[in-house]
């Protein structure tokens, strides 16, 4: 019987050119993220609002509840609507988004601490692959809490409603919902990537992110209320995100009033939405630039 060499073997044949190398980075990042019990628990708890929304949608059909008797707000929650989605995204899920983003602080910080960049960039990877891979990790987690439940709610609502033309009436909400979810997740993801690239540990990144989001909101509220100048609302990252979400989802004013969404102490109510878009665009640009400045595949050393 021949004895084969079971030690190192050369690869024979052709290897296809490498592409989509951000996918293994994203896959490994997600696996590492969900390896922690706290992250898994938080992601599951973050789906509770979805469960509640689902019950509200299905409940009346199961127990044959006359939803019309509940007043004008009922249409906003017993069917998928702009106001209902705004309530779901900006009030119910927001805390979980914030916490899960904060927990992703180790995405770049851990790589920097363990000198892993040399491992990545001695491979046929570009810096953009690395960036995309890491961003996909955060976006997958956050969109799993926002976009995916929203789409499922749509599907359930469309399946249960027998009204003629309901599909067409609701169709415009689909791209609006996707845009609103991206508005909530992309700025958070990019801010966290930038912060993670300047912090040396995951904990520092988490604290920096939480500090940034909370402090901008607190400062904005104090200045807006004490000086009675709504423009100071632009300081708050959350306020800008919510303002744009409101524009994108365009909730029915009746529904907004019925759900008390209009009575909130919202600082940017009287500020043009374009200002908020500008602020958010500036934050996104700054975050991306900071990331690419801190994470270098190629160290430029020539004088």
């Amino acid at each position: 019987m021949p004895i084969y060499d079971n030690s190192y073997r050369r690869i024979e044949g052709l290897r296809p050119p490498s592409r989509m190398l951000f996918l293994p980075i994203a896959g490994t990042g997600l696996r590492l993220f969900f390896r922690r019990r706290l992250h898994r628990i938080l992601a599951r708890v973050g789906l509770i609002p979805f469960g509640v929304m689902l019950l509200i949608l299905i409940g009346p059909h199961v127990i044959d509840l006359p939803t019309e008797e509940f007043g004008p707000g009922a249409a906003a929650v017993f069917h998928v609507s702009g106001a209902g989605l705004y309530l779901y995204l900006s009030k119910w899920v927001w805390v979980f988004l914030f916490l899960l983003t904060a927990l992703a602080g180790g995405l770049i910080a851990n790589d920097l601490r363990a000198n892993a960049l040399e491992i990545y960039f001695s491979r046929p990877l570009s810096l953009f692959d690395y960036f995309l891979g890491k961003l996909l990790v955060i976006l997958t987690v956050l969109l799993g809490l926002t976009l995916l439940p929203c789409l499922l709610l749509f599907l359930v609502d469309l399946t249960l409603t027998e009204t003629q033309g309901f599909w067409f009436d609701q169709l415009h909400l689909l791209p609006r919902t996707a845009a609103a979810c991206l508005l909530m997740t992309v700025p958070y993801g990019l801010i966290m990537l930038a912060i993670s690239s300047i912090a040396r540990t995951a904990r520092n990144a988490m604290l920096l992110f939480a500090g940034l989001i909370m402090m901008t909101s607190i400062i904005s509220n104090i200045l807006t209320q004490s000086l009675e100048q709504p423009l100071f609302g632009l300081i708050s990252i959350n306020a800008n995100m919510h303002r744009l979400m409101e524009i994108v989802l365009a909730p029915n004013p009746d529904h907004v009033n019925a759900l008390s969404l209009g009575n909130r102490n919202f600082p940017l109510q009287d500020v043009p939405a374009l200002y908020s878009a500008g602020v958010l665009a500036a934050i996104i640009t700054f975050s991306v630039l900071l990331f690419f400045r801190r994470v270098r595949g190629v160290e430029v050393v020539s004088a």
């Binding site: 000198n115 040399e118 491979r123």
Partner: protein, 313 residues
């Protein structure tokens, strides 16, 4: 030289005002190459230029005929690199880490996993491959980096100080692996080290760098000079033999292990084996070991550095 593995031309690397590489030109064919030099000689900078991790201020580096700056992705795809620093991806096991390195080198998931198993067993991480890299000892971390550099079967393997911080046993194991790769598996290896014995035991060619310049390059055997002397060991007391040699005008340097280096001294080239045996007979001292004295790599290294320093002065 036909199809050189590594070729640089007027390569200059600057860190601010400090020039790490000062216009080096080198060419290396197939086989195993040792990059020798003291700390700060520019070895790691050269490797980083090759992998596109730093951009040179001037000049070019070509690997397998590809320009490292322009075809960086193809160069990195064809080469394996084991960095000097302690680096890993926190939270991954040895198997996951190596498999991940295969994936980002372009292997598909199934191939990467299979190769990861193979190379980890090859480097001696058997059951340990399922443990987290964070929990590994220094030696095991070196081995897993070695496996990660090999996982995609590179045409050229660049190793930066691979035996740093290893205990003697682990060091010998890593050296054995490198020898096996170069002699039995036909892989080209570029070994950067300041440990002369490591380079001598693995490589046929050497490039000596000092302060960013190439001081010597070529086959190790050809670079080593014979100084015309002989290393001699004798039976019994060597004193009469040494005394007679000195009277005849030969220079004798004795060491504390019983051997002596006999040099021509002022005899105008009359030293040879026959003459040594004749003098031994006359002194009544039987000789048991006579070999031509050849420079060690350490001697060569020190001489090269000294010549370089004198040249600069």
């Amino acid at each position: 030289m036909e199809n050189p593995i590594l070729e640089t031309s007027d390569l200059v690397v600057r860190y601010g005002r400090n020039e790490a590489l000062k216009g080096i030109d080198l060419c290396f064919g197939q086989g195993s190459l040792g990059l020798l030099g003291p700390n700060g000689a520019g070895k790691s900078s050269l490797l980083r230029v090759i992998f596109g991790l730093i951009r040179p201020a001037r000049g070019t580096a070509r690997v397998l005929g590809l320009d490292a700056a322009k075809d960086g992705v193809r160069v990195r795809s064809a080469c394996g690199y084991m960095p000097e620093s302690d680096c890993h991806i926190p939270g991954l096991s040895g198997l996951e880490f190596t498999s991940f390195c295969g994936r980002i080198s372009g292997l598909n998931a199934a191939d990467a996993k299979r190769r990861a198993h193979e190379v980890l067993v090859y480097v001696g991480l058997k059951e340990e491959r399922y443990r987290k890299v964070d929990e590994y000892s220094r030696g095991m971390k070196q081995k897993v980096k070695f496996a990660a550099a090999l996982v995609h079967d590179p045409a050229v393997l660049f190793l930066d100080e691979p035996t740093n911080g290893l205990d003697p046993q682990a060091r010998l194991e890593v050296l054995d692996l490198m020898r096996d790769l170069t002699t039995n598996k036909g892989m080209n290896v570029v070994l950067s080290s300041h440990l002369l014995q490591d380079v001598e035991s693995v490589c046929q060619d050497v490039i000596m760098l000092d302060r960013g310049r190439v001081r010597a390059s070529g086959k190790i055997d050809q670079l080593k000079q014979s100084d015309g002397g002989f290393v001699v060991k004798v039976h019994g007391v060597p004193d009469p033999f040494v005394a007679l040699l000195s009277r005849r005008g030969f220079r004798v340097e004795r060491d504390d292990r019983g051997s002596m280096l006999v040099l021509d001294g002022n005899t105008n080239g009359t030293l040879n084996v026959r003459e040594l045996y004749r003098i031994g007979r006359e002194a009544g001292t039987p000789l048991r070991h006579v070999v031509p004295a050849v420079e060690t790599l350490e001697d060569l290294f020190l001489r090269t550095l000294q010549e370089g320093q004198e040249g600069q002065e």
